[in-house]
């Protein structure tokens, strides 16, 4: 069980061993966070919007059965075909059967964390279908045979030199070329061919409107739109939590989403699909895959409100310094550290501890999900389930004892100061992870308590 407990920190250890790259990663994400702040400060009613968004989601999740049925009925009336999938396997089989019915061999897919969650690409490839990720960042990680390290910025962990080498190898760009404009142009031309040759387009869904049966997809590159306006078949894959009741609720979420995600006032393209386009078919797959059981858990159900903006990742001091792949999950960062352990606590028990409880995630979350409270609650739950690493259990037990008794605390404090002054190497050695890359000031002779009684107590009487 403890094999995974070390997971995040050991993988993060590998990431930070390249100190230049780790610093670069940290500052690249902080740059996005600063862009977000600029946009957010431009909207005086930001807090009202967050409250409204949270209230809309709470309302919808409470009556999710009714809204799902309303959505299904309206979407069907518009001519879309609605499918229901309980888990990833069923989802993938539905996608495959639709493609098979159309004899579709070549598929273009825009960014969708849900299809990553379902591992749709490897499944379709096994069935002999060619799937091309068309978001530039996703195409980069696909060519590298990796997974995205961030839900909005899939290739944030990759340097332009690495992209240059990759494109030289796969797209025939000039050797050593690293200019982002040049590389993007090469990808544009390469992917245009894929769009024109595609038999079907797969997209995610950002919002689904219950009262109309419509879906909304937000992108910057235009890849989702090209992918579904050229082929005659559009498959839209969505989690059941993407529903919102009314069209006008979109205003709230669209004002929050791109500002939080990338510091843009809105994404370049915000596409609304109501039924199939002319001469085309639209299939919408509603996926559960653990969402109903998340809804059952009152401590964590607000995590269902997430609109996948990535703001909590960009701001998280642990995410920025450890990279998305350290989490070993499709959704990393603070929200991933809630979602994954809630569905599988034994595998992901290290994630809620990859957190300093600074609370920055909760502050930036546009839907006001209490992320750091949930992470804190999860830690306790992991302990109660017996999934806490032994070292942590011992440390917690001892700390609890020491902090629970004033006299013991004084004795241990005195001993500690004495040892730290006389034998610093007892602490400062390679076995103590807390001393890695850190230095401590010399221990004082006196505790604060002793100093206070000597110096201040009298004066304040």
């Amino acid at each position: 069980m403890n094999t995974t407990a070390e997971n995040h920190s050991s993988k993060a250890g590998v990431f930070v061993s390249d100190s230049d790259k780790a610093h670069w990663h940290d500052s690249a994400l902080w740059f996005v966070r600063e862009k977000r702040d600029k946009q957010v400060n431009d909207v005086p009613e930001w807090e009202k919007l967050r409250e409204a968004a949270s209230a809309i989601k709470t309302h919808t999740v409470a009556q999710l059965d009714q809204y799902l049925q309303m959505f299904e009925q309206k979407a069907t009336a518009l001519g879309a075909k609605v499918h229901w999938a309980q888990n990833a396997r069923e989802h993938n089989e539905i996608v495959h059967s639709i493609l098979k019915n159309h004899g579709a061999q070549r598929v273009v897919k825009s960014k969708s964390m849900l299809t990553e969650e379902c591992h749709l690409n490897p499944y379709l490839e096994q069935q002999g279908i060619d799937v091309v990720d068309t978001d530039l960042g996703e195409r980069i990680v696909q060519l590298r045979k990796e997974s995205p390290s961030h839900i909005v910025l899939p290739a944030i962990h990759i340097k332009k030199e690495e992209v240059g080498d990759l494109f030289h190898q796969h797209l025939g760009t000039d050797e050593g070329a690293t200019d982002p404009s040049y590389l993007t142009e090469a990808a544009r031309n390469h992917l245009r061919e894929k769009f024109l040759a595609a038999d079907a387009g797969i997209t995610g869904v950002n919002f689904a409107i219950a009262e109309t049966g419509g879906i909304v997809v937000c992108t910057n590159e235009g890849n989702a739109d090209l992918g579904v306006t050229l082929p005659r078949l559009h498959i839209a894959c969505m989690g059941i939590e993407k529903l919102i009741p009314r069209t006008k609720d979109l205003a709230v979420f669209l004002r929050l989403l791109a500002r939080s995600a990338t510091g843009q006032p809105i994404t370049t393209y915000t596409s609304h699909f109501h039924g199939p386009q002319d001469d085309s078919e639209l299939h919408i797959i509603l996926l559960d895959n653990g969402r109903t059981s998340l809804r059952d858990q009152s401590d964590y159900q607000e995590a269902l409100h997430c609109i996948r903006c990535g703001a909590c990742m960009n701001t998280c001091p642990v995410y920025r310094r450890s990279g998305g792949h350290s989490y070993g999950t499709t959704v990393p960062g603070p929200i991933g550290s809630v979602l994954n352990p809630v569905s599988d606590s034994a595998t992901h028990n290290s994630l809620p501890f990859a957190c300093s409880l600074c609370g920055s995630c909760t502050d930036v979350c546009p839907i006001k999900i209490p992320l750091h409270h949930q992470l804190f609650t999860l830690r306790d739950q992991i302990r109660r389930n017996g999934n806490l690493a032994l070292t942590k259990r011992i440390a917690m037990f001892l700390t609890g004892r020491i902090l629970g008794s004033a006299s013991l605390f004084r004795v241990v404090g005195r001993m500690g100061r004495w040892v730290m002054r006389g034998f610093p190497w007892l602490f400062h050695n390679r076995f103590n992870l807390w001393w890695k890359q850190r230095d401590m000031p010399p221990a004082p002779k006196q505790s604060f308590g002793a100093w206070y009684s000597a110096n201040r107590k009298e004066k304040h009487r």
Partner: protein, 204 residues
């Protein structure tokens, strides 16, 4: 029980307290000069704007553009611009649009807070034209610029079209080291003509 029933019954088995939907009508930011703000925002997201006092000026203005001069294929679905151009044929496959250099279409409304312009399939022969063209020109009436997204959704009804899209600026990406590159998969540039109509002057 099929998957649909199973999912729905799992939800029904866990009753949650019903809460009200929020009232979205409280005071929201507006601008004294929404058109001015709209123009600022469009340029902040990488597009360009020009204000014209009369729709009849459009053809001559467009014909002077570098993108127009350099284009080997120009197409238009604009009713406002009244250009004597290829207006695309519905029976042709959208793949036949791959060589369009410049495409012109009409937007229904513009949004001051984010520079977005609402375009629907009712005014397009092929939806793909908006995205496959190298350069895009959109027109919008000055009287159709609203302050924010709340006002936008009061004016439009997306369910009336199979396809409708808010377009804010040209296509872009920052997926390589966060450096912004304009012209990812969609249009490499966006020019917006704000055309004064009879109502524009009186709307304030």
């Amino acid at each position: 029980m099929n998957s649909r029933e199973k999912i729905l019954s799992r939800i029904r088995n866990r009753k949650m307290m019903e809460t009200a939907l929020p009232d979205l009508s409280r005071k929201l930011t507006t601008w004294d000069d929404p058109i001015g703000r709209f123009r600022e925002t469009v340029s902040a997201v990488g597009g360009h704007t020009e204000r014209l006092s009369d729709p009849s000026l459009l053809p001559s203005v467009i014909e002077k553009l570098d993108d127009y001069q350099a284009a080997s294929r120009v197409a238009s679905n604009s009713f406002i611009a009244k250009l004597d151009l290829d207006d695309l044929t519905r029976s042709a496959s959208p793949h036949s649009l791959a060589d369009i250099d410049l495409f012109i279409a009409d937007g229904d409304i513009g949004v001051a807070e984010n520079g977005a312009i609402w375009v629907t399939d009712e005014k397009l022969v092929h939806n793909a034209a908006l995205f496959i063209t190298q350069h895009l020109i959109l027109t919008v009436y000055g009287s159709a610029i609203v302050n924010n997204m709340h006002e936008a959704y009061e004016k439009i009804d997306p369910q009336e079209s199979h396809f409708g899209v808010f377009i804010s600026g040209p296509s872009k990406t920052a997926d390589i080291e966060q450096s912004l590159v304009i012209g990812a998969h969609g249009a490499r540039s966006l020019m917006v003509y704000i055309v004064d109509d009879s109502e524009t002057g009186e709307s304030e």
